[in-house]
Symmetry: C2
Subunit: 314 residues, 2 copies
Amino acid sequence: MRYGFGVDLGGTMVKIAYFDENGTMLGKWEIPIIVDDEGRKLLSNIAASIRQFLAQKSIAPDSIVGVGVGVPGPVNAAGVVNKCVNLGWGRFNIAEELSKLLGFPVKAGNDANVAALGECWKGGGRGSENMIFAALGTGVGGGIVIGGRLLYGAHGSAAEIGHLVINRDEPEPCNCGKHGCMEQYCSSTGIVRMAQRILNQSNAYSKLRQHNPLTCRDIFACGRSGDELAERVLNQYYAYLGEALANLCDMVDPEAVVLGGGISKAGQMLLDGVRPHFDRHVFHAASGARFALASLGNDAGVYGAFKLVLDAFG
Amino acid sequence: MRYGFGVDLGGTMVKIAYFDENGTMLGKWEIPIIVDDEGRKLLSNIAASIRQFLAQKSIAPDSIVGVGVGVPGPVNAAGVVNKCVNLGWGRFNIAEELSKLLGFPVKAGNDANVAALGECWKGGGRGSENMIFAALGTGVGGGIVIGGRLLYGAHGSAAEIGHLVINRDEPEPCNCGKHGCMEQYCSSTGIVRMAQRILNQSNAYSKLRQHNPLTCRDIFACGRSGDELAERVLNQYYAYLGEALANLCDMVDPEAVVLGGGISKAGQMLLDGVRPHFDRHVFHAASGARFALASLGNDAGVYGAFKLVLDAFG
């Protein structure tokens, strides 16, 4: 049996997990993120932490396949990071740097892409080889798995699902500077923005008006209890998401579409809401994709990161 | 040196070409299409034609890598065709059937997908590993190449570019039954339809009114000569196409976008028209894709078909 590590670089913490080659998680811990120049300090902290774990557990280094890393920014298949704004990183090869520090093979990928691989391997997409993952959170991220492998793209920027243009007439700009990106509607901030627009355009009674600040969770709760304006907001949400997923499926023709991120906590209600809009817009040949909820939560990244290195060097 | 064949099943003819492993075309001929049950007669005709060629040229069968085939319908990576309406085919494994008849390995793909692979290998996308191909003809087909390999999808239906929904409010149905598909605007029939709408809504003078029937070529010609309504039609065309290609690039992050089909005969005018709309809608990380015109014309399919079998068995 061989073993390895999955590393997920998050906003404030680095999550590190230890797996056997079957994907059974045997250990998991966190170390703090350090924002530094080119990641030198952070990478050496990660390497030190992994070495310490191996020493404590008396694990033979030659049983280790390698270390997979999910990075919050574009990373190409060769391991070259091209700016991680949150970490203060410029352009460098994270796979090479970390591999030098550790003496193990390292494979890196974008964090949302890597989470998609994790969900495909051990989560909501289990059993599929071709999968689209949409992480519906504060923003909208995602990943595309093809033939069991992650789609990187030429510049490490594939599967920027949140920045598909779905409304060319949107007057407000997206965080990315464009107008009408899916993230402007299908994220938790997006759905609240849509709700506030609808509330401002109407004088009708709605329980939504009792919430200040209004949250995504409130909108789903009010919708579930039959509030008419909340239902209207949710219908708009489902329509946008269903159409965007249909377009994605027309391109990728996957077996599964997996929805994750905070909004996926709405559960079956979300799947049931989106599916009719998806069915309306999808090309018949790609209409067979099954919909599922993500099931690994915040661990999707470490599962996917380990799978990445297992596929590359296992 | 090894050799092989690329076969392209068209509307009325089957094109067959003979290549060396470097992709130099050494021979090319056509045989008529026969619409028959499960393709039995057509496949045996293709096999007989290839055998005859080998015998005439005294080519040793063990120098043959195999035969690649482009099929006008969905084909999965295993070679299973799932209905070719034009050929009267149901569901069967064309790769297995043709391989049995020939004694060579056979690899099959969808015709537009296979043409994409040809353009990536020897045409407008040469030098790129990740490429999006849009065939802008009577309809809109396409293909996606990732890491030099064709994207098939789980059901052999990947890259249905023409059926991306780009206008959810379109009242008229697409041939596929959906509403607002890219093909309804970006094909040669689509641009004529847009032109007729714009002409019907206006009383302004336009040279477009002198053409009956109005063709795609007329619209580009009138636009080139400064006709105001033709320019308006073309701007709408470029806007739709640019936005759709931007969304595709946000998913695939390719090095190149290649435009083919009859409309690509408009040449540099088409590329120059589309690019500003693409730049406006593409996510910055994927904005580096270069645009090129297809260069293999109707031979893209045989080049791609041979590349398919070369990659699989070469």
